[in-house]
Subunit: 522 residues, 2 copies
């Protein structure tokens, strides 16, 4: 099974403690590192002239594929089942209807200007492919606050269930670690490892790094917690006593903030101004210039009409089945959907697809007065709590200081903590109860809940892939075309569950199609 | 001498290494901690009816004073020497003229929408007084990115002068610290200090915290540096080798990033959308409703006309000297300016003011293509270099992904590195030369330099206070009124050089005036 970053994060959320995290990181570490850089597209500008391609699915992968193919002169048709582009990149706002497979229907009635990204919500600055498209398409970006020292950690099974502000956990831990290392060095424990000069360097470094006293002891620091802030006249700074180390090291306690240094979680992260769906709409605006996208056109079947060229795709349009023929097809639909479709993919592909497993991430969001800003000085970022359900409170980065905002009070896999067994009303009640542990008295301010269970969303039926039938062999299979049919989507990358993966796969698909066209005409 | 946070930071910038930082932190630590919370204003709403107050100076302290006094019904006149509110809160944009005492004149010609805050540029989320005014006055805020892992450290005297990305310095250091502590614990060095359970807890914690291997050794981590990012198909993640510990611990190297956990530097930090001067203009908009502010009205003298009530203030207006009489005066001008004025302050006050010393901070900003975003993935934050001059490169948080932006390539005290001895052209050339060490080849993209030397700005003549004549006694003197004359300004607080200090002092002045009125009428 191909271990991906997103698997890693999901599993950690599932396990809760950092022993489990560690096991997962090791598993990640032993992955084969077969380097094979995806180059910029190298095809000649006119390569697509007279060549037709059907792109199936208008998520980020499909949009990127169509956009790049259009640039190369292909005759492209993108079939999208819904009335909007973006797939999982979906922002709910006033009027948005979230309908589940079981018929449950929610209509969003938040104030104008308030929105929630139901799918991806963050653009790491190292995700240069998708950021490059934002730049190219002129999508205005703003900061997405992923780390804020005012946010909170809480665990029912640690510190007596009492919440702790992140700045305290982070900086008290650093203080204790520094004190202990300073003591070890002073006691000679590392004389074999460090030169006299390095011991001295490390000694002075640790006093600053850990906020230690002249005696190299940790007694709290202004970074960790302040009883009284400095102010006018004689209002000077007073420091809080530190948390005890034993509690800080409880593996149930710390895990939430171990991610902030992860390469795809490090500051700076960004988001489009006004909602993540500004990205798919920007692609769609470009593609609409050539009427490339057909909306409300769910595909019902596809088949090959030749070994290396020729496909026939049928889809519904206003109750009528239509057929489109093309030279090639790029399949950017989720595997959950392809699986149930009438098609003639080769057995190896079907083995990979039929055996695939999926994550079932959900997000629960509410409209509320911004009590977290006014009463807690929390501006964006995430609070973490444990055990689940509802292990995350995610505060909005948009419209700081506005009267109301959208608060996420649950974001994890619905199958982990028995969440899927709860009714809608039970889910909302549970989320409120859990929020009380971090923000007592404030659950009554939460209004207009909106929940997106990706497993229940038509044309998705999952949040992202976990593994492939046949494991890595199954993954490798999907990387190659099945005759004239190519695959795109974050499931054909090592950046599962991120738009970066989807966008990279789209570029790769455009390259692969062009390579095949070139070799066919050579 | 009253040691303030801002002194601390300035001194650290001056010294460069963390031995010096540490000495300063200790000095800060031994400050007397005399707690005396500044309460919200408690005066009765009508207390100011029929009472007149002249507020001298329209910086944040003066604006806050006038705003609060107006709320209490006082008859307030605010005299401001310039044609704009804000004092040091000054944002340069197209058309702004920066004129020095020596007659040097620069006119800003940046593209519309580009600006630079020449004074304060950050609002920490813990600065609740000034943030409260932003909320009350409806000033839209956005994130100011203070920490970005993609920014750079560079020191001519460490690591062969080669720049290092911050994520590498931060996370390799954490890796080495964790490895050494894990080894000490395993070797039994801390058996006297830790229980068996805590040793185990610490052991598993450090593997995750430091990104260590199963063998508790540090071999680099994806947080610190990635040779190849994961991507489509078979593009998997490859990790860089770590930097050696000896270099990382060079005290010349690390110092720049020791601040990010400081309580007033921690994420989340904010800025008004469009420029910091949105704050003074929001105050002015309110005060203009009652025509409270008189602009272009530099004060020439002031005196008391009674022991506890009565002041006479003269000022210039269109070349004519005018006099205004009032019951009280709140002096919110910089001490540098009061010092040179004709007035009758009591000897203790003059001793404090005449003996005061000041910092001479400057900022140098350029308009440029955003090469740091496109070519370095740097979105906001600061790069640090050493030795000075120009120890900071500060990237804009506003308008991410725009074509051009404003880059600060120098922000420190001009008297520290001999900067004041350079001509304007030499300053620009030096800043470009230093930038080349971090962003080689890009200094040629810097255009339209604008420099603000606060020591050279009329009506300021300094950036902020460093100390008072008579030390703490001098500070205590200024906290009390000299008969009917009160003092406000960040120099009457422990939050020197921050708007939080100025705003707190204004609230305090309004309270003090009201207390005096109340006791006079009791």
């Amino acid at each position: 099974m191909s271990m991906t970053r997103r698997n890693f994060l999901t599993r950690v959320g599932q396990a809760g403690g950092y022993s489990a995290t560690f096991a997962t990181m090791q598993a990640l570490g032993v992955m084969p590192m077969k380097a094979q850089a995806v180059s910029p597209i190298t095809a000649n500008p006119g390569v697509g002239k007279g060549v037709s391609v059907v792109v199936a699915g208008g998520g980020i992968a499909g949009l990127t594929t169509a956009y790049e193919l259009r640039k190369l002169g292909y005759n492209v048709t993108l079939l999208e089942a819904r009335n909007r582009p973006g797939g999982r990149n979906w922002s709910a706002r006033n009027g948005t209807v979230v309908e589940f497979l079981d018929g449950t229907k929610q209509t969003c009635t938040w104030e104008d200007g308030n929105y929630q990204n139901l799918g991806p919500g963050r653009l790491p600055s190292v995700h240069t492919t998708i950021l490059g498209y934002c730049r190219e398409l002129g999508v205005p970006l703003e900061v997405e606050i992923n780390t804020s020292r005012s946010t909170i950690l809480q665990n029912d099974n640690a510190n007596g269930g009492k919440p702790v502000v992140q700045r305290k956990a982070v900086n008290d831990t650093r203080g204790w670690v520094s004190e202990l290392l300073a003591k070890s060095i002073k006691g000679g424990a590392l004389d074999q490892d460090l030169t006299k000069e390095d011991k001295e360097r490390m000694g002075s470094f640790l006093r600053i790094y850990g906020g230690l006293g002249l005696d190299s002891k940790y007694k709290g620091s202004d970074r960790a917690g302040i009883k009284q802030y400095p102010g006018a006249a004689n209002q000077t700074l007073e420091i809080e006593a530190p948390m005890d180390m034993h509690t800080l090291l409880d593996e149930n306690f710390w895990s939430g903030i171990l991610y902030e240094e992860a390469w795809d979680w490090q500051a700076t992260m960004m988001q489009p101004v006004g909602g993540m769906d500004r990205i798919p709409y920007a692609f769609a605006r470009e593609l609409d210039k050539t009427k490339t996208i057909i909306y409300n056109a769910p595909i019902t079947s596809f088949k090959r009409t030749g070994p290396n060229k020729g496909v026939e795709v049928t889809y519904m349009q206003k109750g009528v089945e239509k057929t489109i023929k093309a030279d090639y097809m790029v399949n950017a639909m989720p595997l959950t959907i392809i699986k149930k479709m009438k098609q003639d993919l080769s057995p190896a592909y079907m083995e990979s697809i039929n055996g695939a497993t999926f994550a079932s991430s959900y997000k629960l969001a509410w409209e509320s007065r911004r009590f977290w800003e006014k009463d807690y000085n929390i501006y964006g970022g995430l609070s973490f709590r444990s055990p689940g359900p509802t292990t995350v409170i995610w505060y909005p980065s948009a419209k700081l200081m506005a009267e109301k905002g959208i608060l996420v009070t649950g974001y994890e896999d619905e199958l982990i903590f028995g969440w899927e067994k709860l009714s809608m009303e039970e889910k909302f009640a549970t989320a409120k109860k859990q929020l009380e542990k971090i923000h007592p008295g404030h659950s009554q301010e939460l209004t207009k809940p909106l929940i997106c269970l990706w497993r229940q969303i038509p044309y998705n039926e999952a949040s992202w892939i976990r593994g492939y039938g046949g494991g890595d062999k199954g993954y490798q299979t999907l990387l190659q075309p099945d005759g004239p049919i190519f695959f795109a989507g974050d499931h054909t990358t090592h950046v599962v569950g991120w738009q970066e993966g989807a966008a990279s796969s789209g570029r790769r698909a455009a390259q692969m199609v062009s390579d095949m066209v070139k070799s066919a005409t050579a």
